[in-house]
């Protein structure tokens, strides 16, 4: 193709967030056993019940097998070769942002997430997580005035222990799956959100996860509880430096929505994906699940997955409360040698529950992109409905797209609809746009944006623009 040189130029464009922050860190030694877990728990001054939770999870994990049903090709992970706790060295107790190491503030500045009072984003409260610990959470006072709790999960363990004890592991049990069990044993930090009864959270809440060390895993844990008639929109972003080794990221996210509550959870995942030869990159094995516990409650997942060497994640909804609603909107883009196996599970238990799934997979280069989803209608889910739409777009002739929809129904009075399509960006479509003066790269990005529009419409506004840009950047040079 004529644009070959251009293509080469942009492929070599470096990952924008690939820098490493040179900071002194406190790391425990590599390896995992019960002592490691006791050490982590001790460092975090945790209560006994939490240590028990961790130890139980660890014992279960030891008896479990790493899953291979997703047929992802990767070198076996040596779990003894990972550091399970890594934190930038700071003063013991930090009472204000002024005491945070300027290097850390600078890092988040560089990532476009300024934390200081003068520069912080005006409409979003941010919890910034660096390796194993939360660095800072903005707007805490303002949120507290509304009774909203937004802090790191470590702080929540200390300050809101009753909530943690009640809800932690209530959506994703510690033995749910291999990676969730691992996370339950060694999780270090993450965000905690509590929206009290009747409160509409006055601003979007956001967590930004940054992996900095090359040899430590990140195991964050997020818990969001929305009480009756409350609502919240939560955003999550992730980046990591470029290392030629693979870093393990195994997170667990649990959402709980009570009567008439609604939680919207949006992710833009841009972990380092490895280079063109598939060297390096994050292994992203994540368990995200929401429980619509209350009547008429609603949980909506939207995700834009562009990074990671391997993505394995299925943000799901358990629709317990009658007339509760689950949604999943996803764009997954893979390029070069990336592999993504992502989708959702919609478990309809309560009557008249509804779920919508819209998944857009884009595969370029030599990548593999699979949608894997389960829709289950339980025996009491009468009058429940699901609509699923799974579209794949192929760019080039070396990429692969798969769709694995699993459907189980034990309730004759329920409806499940599934639509799927696959398309390819054709040379003639590109030529048409080019012949009107539109640059090759922009032509590709226009077509991809068009393909993803249904999902982008679901993202919070600032996020949608970012996602659009991110996709364009990721795709540069992918059509040859």
């Amino acid at each position: 193709m004529v644009s070959e040189n251009l293509v080469k130029d942009v492929v070599t464009e470096p990952y924008k967030y690939g820098f490493v922050t040179d900071i002194e860190t406190e790391k425990i030694s590599k390896g995992l056993n019960e002592d490691t877990i006791r050490l982590i728990s001790e460092k975090k001054e945790e209560p006994q019940y939490l240590l028990n939770f961790r130890i139980n999870a660890f014992r279960k994990w030891q008896k479990m097998e790493e899953p291979n049903w997703a047929d992802l090709g990767y070198k076996k992970i040596d779990y003894q070769d990972i550091i399970y706790y890594s934190a930038p060295k700071q003063k013991e107790k930090i009472s204000s942002l002024d005491e945070v190491d300027p290097k850390l503030l600078e890092t988040f500045d560089k990532l476009g997430i300024p934390l200081t009072e003068q520069k912080k984003l005006t409409n979003v409260a941010v919890d910034a997580v660096f390796d194993s610990v939360s660095i800072a959470t903005t707007f805490r006072k303002e949120l507290a005035e509304h009774g909203v709790i937004f802090c790191s999960i470590s702080e929540a363990v200390k300050d809101y222990s009753n909530l943690i004890e009640k809800y932690l592991g209530s959506v994703v049990p510690s033995n749910d799956n291999y990676f969730a069990a691992l996370n339950s044993a060694v999780f270090s930090d993450g965000s905690f959100v509590y929206i009290p009864k009747g409160v509409k959270c006055p601003m979007d809440l956001s967590s930004y996860f940054r992996i900095n060390s090359g040899d430590s895993g990140q195991f964050e844990r997020t818990l969001i509880i929305a009480e009756e008639s409350s609502s919240v929109s939560y955003l999550e972003g992730c980046t990591a430096p470029m290392f030629d080794t693979n870093t393990l990221h195994a997170a667990v996210v649990e959402l709980i929505a009570l009567d008439d509550a609604s939680i919207k959870y949006s992710t833009v995942q841009n972990w380092y994906a490895g280079n063109e030869e598939g060297v390096g990159g994050i292994f992203n094995f994540v368990t995200k699940r929401g429980k619509c516990l209350g009547k008429r409650s609603k949980i909506s997942w939207s995700q834009v997955e562009t990074g990671s060497a391997i993505t394995w994640k299925y943000p799901s909804c358990i629709l317990l409360g009658e007339e509760s609603v689950g949604e999943f909107y996803s764009v997954a883009l893979t390029n070069n040698l990336q592999q993504a196996d992502t989708g959702t599970k919609m478990i309809h238990i309560g009557p008249r529950t509804k779920s919508t799934i819209v998944s857009k997979g884009i595969s370029a280069g030599n990548s593999i992109n699979s949608y894997r989803g389960l829709v289950k209608m339980g025996s009491k889910a009468s009058g429940s409905r699901n609509y699923s739409q799974c579209d794949s777009m192929l760019i080039g002739d070396q990429a692969a797209a798969n769709t694995f929809p699993y459907i189980q129904s034990q309730q004759p009075n329920s409806e499940i609809e599934h639509e799927a399509s696959t398309c390819r960006i054709s040379e003639d479509q590109l030529f048409y746009l080019q012949s009107r003066g539109i640059e090759f790269e922009e032509a590709v990005s226009m077509m991809v944006s068009g393909f993803c529009r249904d999902v982008f419409n679901q993202l919070p506004m600032e996020f949608a623009a970012e996602a659009d840009k991110l996709l364009a950047l990721k795709l540069e040079g992918s059509v040859g």
Partner: protein, 261 residues
């Protein structure tokens, strides 16, 4: 070839052009020169190389030029990308405009118009100014503004697609427009609308190449020159009466001409 305006340099010169697709030769020595203000018609049987010629001028990547040259305003354009050719003022009206789902027609027209404006050192238009401009141009082709909010050519009838092509031409104000069977699939009313649109857009500065099978478009737009193409070559050039002759006698003689060669 004779020129009405000898003092002007040609906009487009195709010299002894040979081209092939997947090693199959399609063009076998085409020469044509278009001066500002001229309208040329290229006629010939299906498969004679008319569409290939137009796509090669626009820079379609599937074709390989094996010999000869294409000059646009005096410069060889072979090394230019299709978008660079378009920005500098070459327009191809497609015989079969392709559908592009998900991409809004309005957005597409705006990005394309601004790419051309940028090249001309004109200010790029924001959404509001562009809407004013596009509404004015819609009248030229009697299109409804509802077309703008749809995806590019998606679900358009044959006639609507062709009008959309002319709308693009009106917005891009090209130096040379090559219109590949713009008349095919149009009823007589739509043909008149499209023809009058083309006439309004063109002026003494622009050149037009009409690729067509039929006299009826040429009744609406009088060509200065008519070229007959067969087997990848222009085998005869005349004035507008040549088209009438073809209408009467058909293309059979062109086959004999090639055989004799």
């Amino acid at each position: 070839m004779q020129s009405k305006t000898k003092e002007l340099d040609p906009i487009l010169e195709v010299n002894n052009l040979f081209a092939s697709i997947e090693n199959l030769p399609i063009l076998k020595g085409v020469t044509i020169s278009v001066n500002p203000g001229e309208i040329h018609a290229i006629m010939g049987r299906n498969g004679c190389g008319k569409s290939t010629l137009s796509k090669i001028i626009a820079g379609h990547p599937s074709y390989k030029i094996t010999k000869g040259e294409i000059k646009f305003t005096g410069n060889d354009i072979q090394s230019l990308e299709p978008e660079e050719r378009a920005q500098s003022g070459i327009f191809l009206g497609f015989q079969y405009p392709i559908e592009i789902p998900g991409v809004s027609n309005l957005e597409f027209l705006r990005v394309a118009t601004n790419a051309r404006r940028k090249f001309l050192n004109k200010e790029e238009l924001d959404t509001f100014d562009f809407e004013d401009l596009v509404k004015e141009k819609l009248d030229l082709v009697k299109m409804d503004s509802a077309f703008l909010s749809r995806s590019i050519n998606q679900g358009f009838s044959g006639g609507e697609k062709k009008r959309n092509e002319i709308l693009q031409m009106a917005l891009l104000e090209p130096k040379i427009a090559i219109l590949d069977e713009t008349d095919s699939g149009l009823d007589i009313d739509a043909l008149r609308v499209v023809a009058s649109g083309i006439k309004k857009i063109s002026n003494e500065q622009t050149g037009i190449i009409l690729i067509t099978h039929y006299q009826r478009l040429l009744d609406e737009i009088q060509p200065d020159y008519v070229h007959v193409m067969a087997d990848g070559q222009i085998i005869k050039t005349g004035e507008s009466d040549l088209a009438l002759e073809l209408e009467k006698n058909g293309y059979e003689w062109t086959d004999n001409f090639i055989k004799e060669q």
